[in-house]
Subunit: 152 residues, 3 copies
Amino acid sequence: MSTTATTPAELYVEVQNFYARQVRLQNDGRTEEWAATFTEDGRLKHEPDDAVVHRVGKGTFLGRAELATTMRGLHKKLTDAQIQQRHLYTMLTVEPRDDGTIETSYYSLVFRIKPGQKPAPEVSCPTHDVLVRGKGGNLLVRSRTITHDECA
Amino acid sequence: MSTTATTPAELYVEVQNFYARQVRLQNDGRTEEWAATFTEDGRLKHEPDDAVVHRVGKGTFLGRAELATTMRGLHKKLTDAQIQQRHLYTMLTVEPRDDGTIETSYYSLVFRIKPGQKPAPEVSCPTHDVLVRGKGGNLLVRSRTITHDECA
Amino acid sequence: MSTTATTPAELYVEVQNFYARQVRLQNDGRTEEWAATFTEDGRLKHEPDDAVVHRVGKGTFLGRAELATTMRGLHKKLTDAQIQQRHLYTMLTVEPRDDGTIETSYYSLVFRIKPGQKPAPEVSCPTHDVLVRGKGGNLLVRSRTITHDECA
């Protein structure tokens, strides 16, 4: 990992906009639209796997259908518990590869807001994505690896 | 809201710089300068309105004079209580409109630092702005709608 | 400090990428690589000086060797205590100067993650850097001034 940046500004900004929109779909429970920001065979993986097993039964999910189903279940649990979740992505790196893929990494810090309480940090997850272009040129997540700093 | 970004990088960066400077004026209590980053008839609105009524008496403020007066009062309260406030804006979207306005949205997470204590999250506010250009081409906030995740 | 941005997008993005990489070197304990992101005579200063004296014995550090030694000691303390630290930089301003230096400022909010606990905010530090170009054109920190909102 070099500290010399060669990322075109247009691409970096496109990725920032993409994540800002994607994260709203997730936090607002727009499950199908969120799953559609992954490729058809998109893969989402938690490390270590057992960091999320108590929440969702397993740690790796494959394809839009499974992603949507999982997210729908998670969002229902949060809604039932009157929890609003907010993901904050910071410290983003964007690295275009020769094969046309785009590798990104960012710190994802998740906050939860419960009725009558202050926002509270829930979990810290350095994340690594591989992005590709869809048919219309739009960005899609082909794989996402979510590392848990601790199984909080 | 599309997940395809068409925001020019120059504009996105200009908005990022603008907010970074504006937020310092607010957090540092530079009230008049902060109010001057709004248009003369600038509007700042909290939703729900009663989320801030206990703090400032009402939830919608119109014009630079009222904005400055309100902010001055708020900052005095914080200063008297030895509280340093820090706003963190993340997950920014920037969308230029055909009419020349620029619509933005971001997660605003406010932290408070009190003497001898660690920083503490105070409130989470997804925010929507409409920006316009002033006479010198500089960015100004014409309207800001601050949504409170919870009335914490 | 003007609220009119004149920062080229390419430079702003380069700085964002630089910090995203630099902060990982720090948080991951890659001490020598982290120190190499400063100039040979790089200076790191805490304000007030006594904000960190209880942690590291003094508040100002000069040169890569001293920076590396200090960071190695700090990282060992954290590792021994099973603490993972994450720095979140937000509200970044980037201002190129006529003399070729680049002045930046940002809010640095440090989170700590301990085994079995949720992430916790540790300290809030508005920071000011002066960046210069190395021989290869890469960014380097010539001086960093870290202001502590409170001696938490």
